[in-house]
Symmetry: D2
Subunit: 328 residues, 4 copies
Amino acid sequence: MSKISKIGVLTSGGDAPGMNPCIRAVVRTAIFNGLQVVGIKQGYKGMIENDMYEMGTRSVSNILNLGGTILKTARCLPFRTDEGMETAYQNIKAQGIDGLVVIGGDGTFTGALRFSQKYPDISVIGVPGTIDNDLYGSTYTLGFDTATNTVIEAIDKIRDTADSHDRLFFVEVMGRDSGAIALRAGISCGAEAILLPEKSTAMEDLIAHLKNGAINKKSSSIVIVAEGDKTGGIYDLAKAVQQEITHYDIKVTVLGHLQRGGAPSSFDRVLGSRLGFAAVNALISGQSQKMVGLEANHIKLTPLEEALSHHDFKLESDLLQMMDILAI
Amino acid sequence: MSKISKIGVLTSGGDAPGMNPCIRAVVRTAIFNGLQVVGIKQGYKGMIENDMYEMGTRSVSNILNLGGTILKTARCLPFRTDEGMETAYQNIKAQGIDGLVVIGGDGTFTGALRFSQKYPDISVIGVPGTIDNDLYGSTYTLGFDTATNTVIEAIDKIRDTADSHDRLFFVEVMGRDSGAIALRAGISCGAEAILLPEKSTAMEDLIAHLKNGAINKKSSSIVIVAEGDKTGGIYDLAKAVQQEITHYDIKVTVLGHLQRGGAPSSFDRVLGSRLGFAAVNALISGQSQKMVGLEANHIKLTPLEEALSHHDFKLESDLLQMMDILAI
Amino acid sequence: MSKISKIGVLTSGGDAPGMNPCIRAVVRTAIFNGLQVVGIKQGYKGMIENDMYEMGTRSVSNILNLGGTILKTARCLPFRTDEGMETAYQNIKAQGIDGLVVIGGDGTFTGALRFSQKYPDISVIGVPGTIDNDLYGSTYTLGFDTATNTVIEAIDKIRDTADSHDRLFFVEVMGRDSGAIALRAGISCGAEAILLPEKSTAMEDLIAHLKNGAINKKSSSIVIVAEGDKTGGIYDLAKAVQQEITHYDIKVTVLGHLQRGGAPSSFDRVLGSRLGFAAVNALISGQSQKMVGLEANHIKLTPLEEALSHHDFKLESDLLQMMDILAI
Amino acid sequence: MSKISKIGVLTSGGDAPGMNPCIRAVVRTAIFNGLQVVGIKQGYKGMIENDMYEMGTRSVSNILNLGGTILKTARCLPFRTDEGMETAYQNIKAQGIDGLVVIGGDGTFTGALRFSQKYPDISVIGVPGTIDNDLYGSTYTLGFDTATNTVIEAIDKIRDTADSHDRLFFVEVMGRDSGAIALRAGISCGAEAILLPEKSTAMEDLIAHLKNGAINKKSSSIVIVAEGDKTGGIYDLAKAVQQEITHYDIKVTVLGHLQRGGAPSSFDRVLGSRLGFAAVNALISGQSQKMVGLEANHIKLTPLEEALSHHDFKLESDLLQMMDILAI
């Protein structure tokens, strides 16, 4: 185990609220422990393009409540090549960096693992940062709680107008491979139906279910559709349902990128702080190629290799059951 | 002038935050003055279908902070026919209603004026309720302030993610004929460009302007497009700009119906209360076929006929000037 | 095991956001399973005063996003007497109630346990509802997440004015016996110091710590004080510190009851729904004298006797460590 | 009229949301017009202590949505002395500043007027920035709208818990000399009574009024008390009422400094932008010793001398009437 002396920190992939609190925790925990810290801009791109800067305790003042990431993030295809990795390695060696904290999702971890396998003198710790909550090894990922709150605030507003007009709304929320936001937001807002990538819904069942709601004299209905739902695009879906259910006026809203932003919730500020704190402590104690996560309210380290090999998350089974029962 | 004894109140057209505070003020001001009040459901439809109910002071408890309208709203084609009007008239006469407060926009007022001209024993007062702020006779209409705040909260969130990725966002906001929301939201969020129905923008100018922003090293840019903008649909617009400005990743968000809902702002609660209070007082003092509005922080009555004949609102000229200057 | 046919549901103790989603889940899960449900008003008081009403699926429409509790809550001294309990028992027997879901804290559970021990034909399940997060058997209690978010939104605002004036603020948050809100809010807002009932802080240490912050050129400082902190009342504390640190203008804010209200967060809506769903399922499966909780993201049943015998919660040790490190 | 070439901008007195948008507008409007801009820190203190810095368009990036003031603010007794003023004058002359935009309230304007009378080669324009809305010459002052929204969001939360417990809350809001926030917040939240500095309320009347509310079967009551109310401190008031109204549990909340902070509302962002834009244009066109204000939705210039001589604002008479009527 080589002792760490200088940590590089970066955010990569889609931005998520809670990344800034995490960066802050990394920087301050490192400095508290006598280490130096370098902020790497735009993820792996900053490593390759040598876009980095020394960070002090004041570099991270007043960022706890900011959405997004002060280090910025970007996709970086060159990092997938040997040449790109080599350039990145030379640049961070020149800076004296011997430990990396990478905040992001699957793609970020894949890059980090390959990099550290190729250059084992650089220790790497991953922090799960994605609003989609679809990483193995942590019950919650950074940004998921804030994004879900953003979604329910939007849907609460849509419900106001839906109720006033006796309308049926189809609302698309983020989640290309994961229905986590859709499921929690749906339970939170009393959605009449929730369409998830993990669970196929037959159009007839959806229509039967919505007709049943109408019979129960609901003044409005909300159907939440995760981006990655397989039933069909939300616009086609709405059109098909409109043909069967004519007494409701059907409208579509695609929430889009507003789901990524906003001041992080307390949950995400605390989670980001804990994970950043744990990531630096893991590096100091000689760990590498691990992801820090939160399970059962305790920090847990999972080998990146293991984290990356699991793609079969299960949505909470009680939530799936409640989905149909609570909207009666 | 016939003395009023029983007031019917309805909301019609698109719902707007502030309608509930207005209904509450109508009900309580009427009761305070010894009048009775009847709530008419779904606008003119409730008059025709006889869907009404007696309201007391407790009928409007705890609604000040609710978006939408507890009386619901709907479009009503039959009210445009003589038969529809006659049925409506018979129904409200049977209820003993001799004064109407109608909360809505242009279409609502047109119906109210025709109705009262046909049946002059029913006095009518209009209250400007539309988020678009495009009615003559009131500097602000109910819901405009709340909707603009909803828009800027969404755009502040989008800015977080735009900044993190160096992206350019096109954001569509409500306003089919009016750029009022787009203009205020654009000034409020520091939009790089604002496309309004009232002002044609050449594509070349937009592109030149955005390229200039890039030169100024902005990390992100927001372009706000009012629904009714004539430059072309927001998706085509974004595509055309992407071809010219390749170093930014361009994204589109259509905010949609979430703009209508939400707890009314203090401004809209106070405005709704003032206008509802004034509407009942106007009926009591023998007025009819007028709209109550707020100008220079005072209540003003405008004949509906006059209000309906003005369609040439001017957006504030200083705001139009600032549009380009402040985003440099 | 007697089969349950009619469930009574009540909220007792301090209100907490998430109680309404929980009531909704209890009602709808019961009805879905063919049971009847009775809402008991004002906790045990409603049992004694026979203030109850039959609830249907529509009784709980549109309450997911409401703070407080539609069933109301109250303290009830008579329920601590044998006569009070007997009256309560007669009343609910007359209603045909054979299962109770009681939502509240320690005091609520103590009453429920005694009642069910005395009248074992009434099955009882407790749901942890208190913003203080100080119950054994559930990592999170209903309302804690929302209250913490409310606190950080308030402190983010206070930070704005503190920064503008170079001020030091002492902010008191709820928590008579528990520092859970104070600790999480403090980490979330970057508080310079957090005073907790669980951990005594010497005045000299606090002053030394704050002086150190000043040396680090912070423009403002926030000290969070839990209600139950033993160092001395917040006003005396502020006065004592002001005498030692004269270059800051010290201000005190006591957040008070606004911490209890507000629309529940997604976390609390989901938690309330899960716990309510689980409580009814527990009754159906013949359980009694248990508390439903959430641990490691799974429902867990804990005997009320056991839950009530633990008073030695530990605040998360990593959070306690981070408290001093992250505010450097 | 001397042509202006370099503008100094400062904020003074209590901070108010909207100051940052105003600073941004001053800076960018000046630069757009070929002028230079200097930011003066901490109000007049920065003039005396020579704490200033050159500002460019990027100095005010991303501040539209920040509460407080990036220029900071402070009280400055030395500026009231001739020596202080002379030092300030020498410092800004050395910087080449010939125009000042001062954002603040009465005290700020008094200083600015005296300064400009003494040194007429420095043109001064005042911008009304105070949450209290008590300046002559502008219907709205910067920060008033945001502060009122902050207050009603807090009171909406308090109402949740008040309703759940059948409680009566006394809530103190800011306003030492002005009841503007109290009055608007009271109308917005349906307060049962509003105590204002401008209007004395006899204790017997208050108690009679509250007893009447109880008779009307309200489940909760909110009494809003402006800081400057003359009936007695809020704690004594609550105690006196509790003795007369025993069936309610009375609680007190003093909202305090959270009322000053927070992201400015759209209204305040637009207002700040308009006033900042107008202030620079006024300087350019040779004006001095004036305040820019907004009346009837248009910019208006008022001589500072005139603005300072009016202390008899009238709260809106319809709001005062509605105060009692709408809470029945």
